[in-house]
Symmetry: none
Subunit: 503 residues, 2 copies
C-alpha cells in the first residue's frame, strides 16, 4: 500500500466549525494533487484505526507547511487527535444509500434495510448537511407511513449504544417542547426514584433556546457522564438526569436535530423516531409524553397534537413499549426563571417546598409524576398525583434529588448574576400577552445558556393585574456588555409583556 504518499502530519489551528468535520490542507499539497482532492470534496481520514469523513477546505499561505494538515475542533476531538499525529487520507466509498433517498423523493416507500443503510451512513458522517437536509425533507410533510416511522425508530436505536436494566419496569418521560422554563424533569425524576421506580433520564442541551434541561441540571450538578457512570448512578439511586450527548444513545438523532434546527422544520416522523429511539435505547418500558399545546409552543393546535398522539401509540406498540400521552397547556412560560441558574432556582424552590415556589411548575411536575407512578402495578389509577404530592411535601423527593446530584459528581449552588436590571410596567392594568419567543431571545442576549447565571426572571403571569411601576421582568447578566446588549433589544421590539389598561 502507498500509505506513505497520502499521510500528513496534524497541526492544530483551533478552528471550530460546530458539528462539521472539516479537513484543512494546503492548496498545493502533494496529497491533494496525487489523490485528485479538490475544495469541498469529502475525504476519508484515518487515525489510530478510526475513520472519519470530512469536507476539504484548502489554505493558501503559510498557516500550514508542506506535509501538514489540520482538522476542525469537532473532527479533532472525534479522532482523539494530538499535535503531530499522522493522518492517512483516502477517497470515501460511493454513497449508495443516497439512491434510496432519491427514490423516496419520487414517492417510493422505504424498507427496513434502506433506512438502516441511510442511518448507518449518517452516523458514520458520510452524509453532508445537504444530503441530510434532502433526507429529512423527503420524510417531512407526512411522507413517512407508519411502517417507515417504525423502521426509522428501529434504525436509530440500532446504530447507537443501548442499555438494559435488572428491572422489568423502567419509566421515562419526554416533553415535546417549546415552553421556556418548563423544567419539570428535575422534580419528576427524584419523585419517581424516591418511590422506587427506575428512571434513567437523558436530556438535551439548548440548541436555539436559552436553556435545555441538561443545561439547567448542570447549574446544580455535572451532567457529562458516560454510559458506565450513568449506569452506576441509576443502579445506586434509581434515577439520573444526564446529558444525552455524552452517552450516545441514538447518535443519529443529534445529527438530524442539528440540521432540522437550521431547516427550522420538524417532521412528525423524525420527531417521533427521535424521541422514542432515545427512550428505547435507554431501556425504557413505560414512557409518559407531555405535549404542551399553545400558540407559542412547538405544537400549536389540538388537531396536530391528536395526529402526533396516534402516531406515538402506533410506533411505541411496535416496540412493545407502554405509552401515555398527556396534553398540557402551552400558552405561557412555566416557572419564573429563564436561563440555566434561574430555572434551577425555581426547581430548588419547588423541591424544598419553599412557599414562594412557582405553583405552575409544581403542579405540572406533580401531575406528570402522578401519571408516571401509575405505570406501577402498585399504584391504583387516580392515586398517582396524591402519592407524588406526598413524596414532594415530605421532603423525600428533595433528599433523593440531593443523592442523585451527589452520585453524578456533587450538588452545587446555582451561581448568581453580577448585573441585573428590573423592568417595570408602564401602565396599570391586566397582562394580556407574554411573548415567549422574545423572552427567549432576551435571555440569550443576556448570555444564556453559555453564562449559567444569565437569563430573565418573569414576575407576572397572563391575566394578572399589575400596578404602574410594578416589576414585571428582570434581566440577569454576568457582564455589563451582555446586559447592555439585552437592553438594546428592548428598544427595538414591541413590549414583551403587554398590559391592557383597565377602563
Amino acid at each position: 500500500m502507498k500509505r506513505g504518499m497520502s499521510t500528513l502530519s496534524l497541526k492544530s489551528l483551533g478552528i471550530d466549525t460546530y458539528h462539521e468535520a472539516v479537513l484543512f490542507m494546503r492548496k498545493d499539497c502533494c496529497v491533494c494533487r496525487a489523490e485528485g482532492f479538490e475544495v469541498h470534496t469529502r475525504v476519508r481520514i484515518t487515525l489510530h484505526h478510526q475513520h472519519l469523513l470530512a469536507t476539504l477546505h484548502t489554505i493558501e499561505g503559510d498557516l500550514l507547511s508542506q506535509g501538514e494538515a489540520s482538522l476542525s475542533k469537532y473532527a479533532w476531538e472525534r479522532l482523539g487527535a494530538h499535535e503531530g499525529d499522522k493522518i492517512y487520507l483516502s477517497h470515501p466509498r460511493p454513497l449508495q444509500s443516497l439512491s434510496f433517498v432519491r427514490a423516496k423523493v419520487y414517492g417510493s416507500e422505504f424498507n427496513m434495510q434502506e433506512v438502516r443503510h441511510i442511518l448507518k451512513d449518517i452516523v458514520q458522517e458520510r452524509y453532508s448537511d445537504i444530503h441530510i437536509a434532502t433526507f429529512l425533507t423527503a420524510c417531512a410533510g407526512n411522507r413517512l407511513n407508519h411502517d417507515e416511522i417504525i423502521y426509522l425508530t428501529r434504525a436509530m436505536v440500532d446504530v447507537g449504544a443501548t442499555l438494559s436494566w435488572p428491572k422489568d419496569l423502567i419509566v421515562d418521560k419526554h416533553c415535546v417542547g417549546g415552553l421556556p422554563g418548563n423544567r419539570t424533569t428535575l422534580i419528576i425524576v427524584p419523585i419517581i426514584a424516591a418511590f422506587g421506580l427506575m428512571m434513567p433520564k437523558t436530556s438535551s442541551r439548548a440548541i436555539t433556546s436559552p436553556s435545555g434541561t441538561a443545561d439547567t441540571m448542570e447549574a446544580l450538578a455535572p451532567v457529562d457522564l458516560n454510559l458506565k457512570e450513568m449506569r452506576h448512578v441509576v443502579e445506586q439511586e434509581g434515577g439520573c438526569i444526564v446529558w444525552g450527548g455524552s452517552v450516545a444513545l441514538s447518535p443519529a438523532d443529534d445529527t438530524l436535530i442539528r440540521v432540522e434546527r437550521i431547516m427550522d422544520l420538524d417532521s412528525e416522523g423524525s420527531l417521533i423516531a427521535s424521541i422514542l429511539s432515545k427512550k428505547i435505547a435507554a431501556g425504557s418500558t413505560h414512557i409518559a409524553i407531555d405535549i404542551p399545546v399553545g400558540l407559542t409552543a412547538k405544537v400549536r393546535s389540538l388537531e396536530r397534537a391528536d395526529m402526533l398522539k396516534r402516531l406515538f401509540y402506533t410506533v411505541a406498540s411496535a416496540f412493545g413499549v407502554s405509552l401515555k400521552i398527556i396534553m398540557t397547556d402551552g400558552e405561557e412560560p412555566v416557572g419564573r426563571g429563564i436561563g440555566p441558574a434561574l430555572e434551577a432556582m425555581d426547581v430548588l424552590a419547588v423541591l424544598k417546598n419553599d412557599r414562594n415556589a412557582p405553583r405552575d411548575l409544581r403542579e405540572r411536575a406533580l401531575m406528570l409524576a402522578g401519571e408516571i407512578l401509575e405505570f406501577s402495578p402498585d399504584v391504583k389509577s387516580g392515586t398517582g398525583k396524591m402519592i407524588a404530592t406526598r413524596l414532594l411535601d415530605s421532603g423525600r423527593a428533595w433528599q433523593k434529588f440531593q443523592a442523585i446530584c451527589e452520585a453524578q459528581g456533587g450538588l452545587r449552588e446555582p451561581c448568581i448574576a453580577c448585573y441585573t436590571h428590573v423592568i417595570t410596567s408602564e401602565d396599570a392594568g391586566r397582562v394580556v400577552m407574554i411573548d415567549n419567543r422574545q423572552l427567549s431571545r432576551l435571555a440569550k442576549l443576556a448570555g444564556a445558556p453559555h453564562d449559567k447565571a444569565a437569563g430573565v426572571m418573569l414576575y407576572t403571569r397572563l391575566d394578572a393585574m399589575v400596578e404602574k411601576g410594578q416589576p414585571i421582568i428582570a434581566i440577569h447578566a454576568e457582564s455589563k456588555g451582555a446586559l447592555g446588549y439585552a437592553l438594546s433589544l428592548l428598544k427595538q421590539i414591541p413590549a414583551i409583556v403587554r398590559v391592557e389598561v383597565c377602563e
Copy 2:
C-alpha cells in the same frame, strides 16, 4: 448607533471553502459575546455598503488577535475585501421566505410572490445550503404544478440579467441530457451561425455528469465570458458557446444546480425552469429541445418524455416562445469520449470531416441543426438537414467554429491524460448492454470534469461483435490516485459493457 461595537478588522487567512461564505472570529471575541453570535450562526457582514451573509466559525488560539476577523476566500472576493478593512457585523433579518418553503413541504401551493421572494433570497445568498436543499427537495418528485413551474421560471428570469438582440429570430437549443458524450452543441452552433441565424448559446458545466457542454468547450477555448464579451462575440460571429454561470443570465440557477449536484437529484419543475429561464433571459425566441430517451439516459421512458414535453410546451407558451421538442435515441453514449478533452476530440473530428469521426455524433448534430434551421422562414420544411450537411461537409462550419473560438479568446488543443488503463473484453460475442450511468460514474471517479483530460473512451457500440481480449474501454486520469479510485469501482459493480457469448 453603536456601530463601533460590532466592527472588526480583516486579516487574511487564505482559507478556501468553495462557494460557502464563512466568517472566522476569535471564540472570545467581544463582538461574538455582545451580539450573541455562536458557532454556525449566520452573520450579516457589511463592507463598503455591500452586504453578505456568512456562517460563523470560531477560532481558539492566536491565528486572530482581539479586534480581528477573517473571511473565507469566496466571501473575501465577493466583498472585494482588503487586509485591514473594517467589517461591520450584525444579525441577519429573519428569513421569512423559509415559511413558504415549509408550507410547500406540507403540501401547499406556491404563489408568484412566494416564489419570487424565495428566489430573491437565494440569489442574495441568504439561504444556507441546507435551506436550498430543503427547497429543492420540496419541489422535486412532481410536487410543482404548471403554474408553479411558470412562477419559478419567471422568478429565475427576473432575478438576473437579460439580453435583447437586433434580430427578430433568435434560435437556441438544449439537450435534456444524460447521454455521455452528447456534444452536438459544439457542431450545431457553427452550422447555424454559418447559415446566418443568430444563436447566443450559453451552456452549463457538469451537474452530475462527467462533463457539461461548457466543460467540453473549455477544453478548446475560454468560456468564462461576461455579458459584454458574449454580446460582442455573437454580434461579430452570429453565435457563441459560453458558460452560463459567468454571464449571470439566471444566477439563481447556478446556486440551485450547485446544490442539486451534491444532492445528486434533478426535479422536473426545476429542470424546466432552469432550462427555459436561461433561454428566455438570453433573448431566444425559437428553441429546439432534444430529449434523449433510453433506459440509462436522464429520461428513461417515453411516458416521462411525454410528460416533460407537455410541461415544456405549457411553460414556453406562457412566455410566448416557440418550441420544438425532438425525442432522440438515448440507449447508448454518443461519440467515443466521455470527459471534457475526450469529447472535444470527437467534436473536432466531426467538424474537420475526419473519416474516423464518430458517425452517431455527426448524424445527431446534423438532424438537430436541420430542425433549428427550419425555424427560419427561408428554409423549407424537410430541407434543414440537407443544408446543415452541406455547411458541415464544405468546411464552412469548421471555419465558423474556429472564428467563434478565436472571438472567445483563442482556440486551443485539448490536453492529454498522463495515466490510462485499457479494459478488454473477457469473452468473444455481441455487445448487448452498455451501462451509461456506470460509464459516467467511472469517468467522474477518474477525475472528470475537474481534470480536463480525465474520462473514459468507449471502443465499442451496442450490437457490435467483439473478440476476447479486444479493448472495450480506456480510463484516462491525470493522477494515479484518481485512476486507482476508478479501477476500484470496477470491482464493485457488474460489467459496464455486457457481451453475450455467441453459440
